[in-house]
């Protein structure tokens, strides 16, 4: 038996024994996500046990090194673990911005001390992080951000405002882009700093969106502080002082790859044709609405072609070519496609899916999801910004 086969067998047996029955429902839906954090209330005892067991194994972040709370698994082993979890419909034990964003940034730019200090609590779900990037005056032009950070000897003094900080009102710590050198050119005076939100100088205010939900906040820094070192040898600043833009760019690329879907959401669940058939019916095996049918068929062609492109780019990356600026292409196409997919589902659903409240539509589940997709092509850099990046970095067209 090869090592990988042995690993698969052990993994299956371990999951079988340790994954609580209640956590084997596929965990679909945002309401079932376990985010962790100081203020987290577990949905059930099973959710708590599942997180603790997986964290003890290092499998909440299986690819991270063991010394930082991870599982130290190889790419192939991570794949096997994911596949085995899928096979038993096991829920993900923990999701967070710490796992998705800060972790990768620290692993790439952090010091050993920073990793030792910050990564294990993320892996155990003890600290929930949020991301402070955009400002009211710095959206697409993110590098023009103004949030001020001054050197006060042993500590940093932070004043300014962030916006679109996801789940800031439920988070414990925030990683923030701040201006540490107001005299430098705009890309060169930014630092990436880690701040504990448990202080009077940091306040948050949820923003109600068109979907009726409030996943984003405004976050205010009024004489907020961060010690130069959160613990001996653990700097509050990640990467070099005034070189925070490098970290931000790395994370934005990473975020774009995530938002472009990884393929997951595109054909998740039933096909568009099947959804439409339920609402408008079939005549001689064809959707009774021929115009809608044509639009859906065209969308499926594009969606499928996009999924194959994700696959090809992954294979090229493995072969050493790297995804590079193509992450902008994937982000642009994937998010625009997702919006189109939800428009078609709303077209297919007609008045049935226009209900905002009530049992029939689970309080307008599709309608709310449809509205949520409108942010896809804004967050993580708008579609227009992605097109600018493609023009400049791939097509090498000159600046205006």
């Amino acid at each position: 038996m090869s090592d990988l086969e042995a690993f698969r067998k052990e993994t299956r047996a371990w999951l079988e024994e340790n994954c609580p029955k209640e956590m084997r429902d596929g965990g679909a839906g945002e309401e079932n996500i376990c985010w962790g954090g100081r203020r987290w209330t577990f949905q059930s005892e099973a959710q708590k046990v599942w997180l603790e067991r997986m964290a003890a194994k290092g499998w909440t972040v299986p690819a991270w090194p063991k010394e930082y709370g991870g599982g130290g698994l190889s790419k192939e082993e991570v794949k096997i673990l994911k596949a085995e979890m899928r096979a038993m419909k096991a829920r993900s034990p923990l999701e967070s911005f710490g796992i998705w964003m800060l972790g990768p940034a620290l692993l790439k730019y952090g010091t050993h001390e920073q990793k030792l200090h910050f990564l294990p609590p993320i892996a155990r779900g003890e600290i929930r992080w949020c991301q402070g990037y955009s400002e009211p005056g710095a959206g697409s032009d993110l590098a023009s951000l103004q949030c001020k950070c001054e050197d006060k000897g042993d500590s940093w003094l932070i004043n300014g405002q962030k916006i679109w900080t996801s789940y800031a009102d439920e988070s414990d710590w925030i990683f923030v882009l701040v201006r540490t050198d107001p005299k430098a050119t705009k890309h060169n005076g930014i630092s990436f700093i880690l701040v504990d939100m448990d202080q009077a100088g940091v306040t948050t205010k949820p923003i109600k969106l068109i979907s009726g939900k409030s996943p984003f906040c405004e976050t205010f820094f009024d004489d907020a502080t961060a010690p130069k070192e959160h613990a001996p040898g653990v700097s509050a600043i990640v990467g070099e002082m005034n070189r925070g833009w490098d970290v931000a760019k790395y994370l934005l690329t990473h975020e774009r790859e995530m938002i472009s879907g990884g393929g997951g959401g595109l054909f998740g669940g039933r096909g568009l044709g099947e959804v439409a058939a339920q609402h408008v019916g079939l005549e001689n095996g064809r959707l009774a609405d021929p115009m809608l049918r044509a639009k859906i068929a065209k969308a499926e062609i594009d969606g499928w072609a996009f999924l194959l492109t994700l696959e090809r780019m992954k294979d090229e990356a493995k072969a050493g070519a790297g995804v590079g600026a193509n992450s902008s292409m994937l982000k642009y196409y994937g998010t625009e496609f997702n919006k189109r997919r939800f428009e078609l589902m709303m077209d297919a659903g007609g008045s049935d899916e226009l209900e905002w409240e009530g049992e029939r539509t689970k309080d307008g589940k599709l309608a709310k999801a449809w509205l949520r997709t409108k942010a896809n092509s804004i967050e993580g850099g708008t579609s227009e910004v992605q097109l600018n990046i493609i023009s400049k970095r791939i097509l090498e067209l000159p600046d205006a």
Binding site: A305, L308, Y332, E396, L397, P398
Partner: protein, 379 residues
């Protein structure tokens, strides 16, 4: 299988690109057009391509071919698309070679495959009878006649129909137009009594013909595959042809796009290169994205043909639909962004628009394949 070319396939692509840039640039097609060349392609060049193994790219080694598979054939088609090289490659080396390989008798294989590989025999596939593609619409009759058949009816849009030595033709031995049952494929001599070909000069200056069958006799040995059961076999061959055309369109569209972005970097108006204007940048960037999607679906279709020929129909339909749509967009954007010069015959971009228009129509346009996909997906 990873969705990338192997090293061997990359080498084939690089050598093909070098050869075609030198021997078959767009100016060669222009010359064929301007001299009213009766063959519509350069026979000496085809001989050279055969010597390099291109004519027999799909043919097994035992019959003298290179046996490089559909991905290899697609790589060549894509490169030919870049320079709009006129050759019998699609008809003979993809369509006929596939039909012979997959469904013909051993006797047919032994007789014809070596000739294809050597570049000594040209074939054409005759399917459509009306303005829009539809194999099931076949009305041409093949009536029982003694031990054999008599073929009567007309075919149109037959690539290389006037230069082919042999014609593979779909005819109805049973059933009614619109039905998939009752179709049979025949292999007939182009010089057979009662068969006449009229070359049709098309917008792309490439080969096409209308064929008239007036009681053309065929024996039982001339049947490829099963009598009455030819539809699925034909679909398989058409899938290969669709993937081949999609690859060609991908190459043509990429070349047109490259010409366009080069022009955007050089043409000045208002004191600036026009490529610095965001209105044009965003259109170019969008087109770039679409072209990346085309590359992916085309490669997937070709890989499927190699790995699971019987199940490749869906991805070939996907590739033809997407490549046709995007190649049209690329050619239209190319002309618009070139402005006035794009409208002149002297400039090459128009040749791309014309070839793409024909290639996207052949064996089903995007609407045909979108409809087919919907049917296959159960809606």
């Amino acid at each position: 299988m990873p969705l990338i070319l192997t090293e061997e396939q990359e080498m084939l692509r690089d050598s093909a690109r070098g050869f075609l840039d030198e021997k078959a640039p767009v100016s060669a097609l222009r010359k064929l057009r301007d001299t009213n060349d009766p063959d519509g392609f350069d026979r000496a060049l085809w001989k050279e391509m055969a010597e390099m193994g291109w004519a027999g790219i799909l043919v097994e080694e035992e019959f003298g071919g290179a046996d490089f598979g559909f991905v290899g054939a697609g790589v060549l088609a894509e490169e030919m698309g870049r320079t709009l090289a006129a050759s019998p490659f699609q008809s003979t080396s993809i369509l006929a070679a596939t039909a012979l390989k997959k469904i013909a008798s051993d006797a047919h294989k032994q007789e014809y495959l070596p000739k294809i590989a050597a570049g000594e025999a040209l074939f054409a596939l005759a399917v459509d009878e009306g303005a829009k593609h539809g194999p099931a619409k076949t009305a041409m009759k093949a009536e029982k006649h003694g031990n054999g058949f008599k073929l009567s009816g007309d075919k149109t849009f037959v690539a290389d129909g006037h230069v082919a030595d042999r014609i593979i033709v779909a005819a109805r031995t049973a059933g009614e137009p619109g039905e998939t049952e009752g179709l049979t494929l025949f292999l007939v001599d182009a010089k057979a009594k009662g068969l006449s070909a009229e070359r049709t000069l098309m917008v792309d200056s490439r080969n096409a013909a209308r064929l008239a069958f007036d009681g053309v006799e065929a024996t039982g040995d001339d049947v490829i595959g099963e009598v009455d059961g030819g539809y699925m076999a034909l679909e398989g061959v058409l899938s290969a042809g669709r993937a081949g055309l999609a690859a060609e369109m991908s190459g043509a569209a990429q070349a047109a796009f490259k010409m366009t972005t080069d022009y955007l970097k050089e043409r000045k108006q208002f004191g600036k290169v026009i490529g610095s204007f965001q209105a044009l940048q965003h259109r170019a960037a969008h087109l770039y994205s679409e072209l990346e999607l085309v590359k992916s679906v085309v490669l997937k279709a070709l890989q499927d043909l190699d790995e699971n020929y019987g199940m490749a129909g869906v991805t070939c339909t996907l590739a033809k639909a997407k490549a046709g749509e995007v190649a049209k967009l690329a050619s239209q954007e190319a002309v618009q962004m070139h402005g006035g010069i794009g409208m002149t015959d002297e400039f090459d971009i128009g040749f791309y628009m014309k070839r793409i228009r024909v290639a996207q129509e052949m064996f089903g346009d995007t609407a045909f394949h979108a409809d087919r996909l919907a049917q296959l997906r159960g809606y």
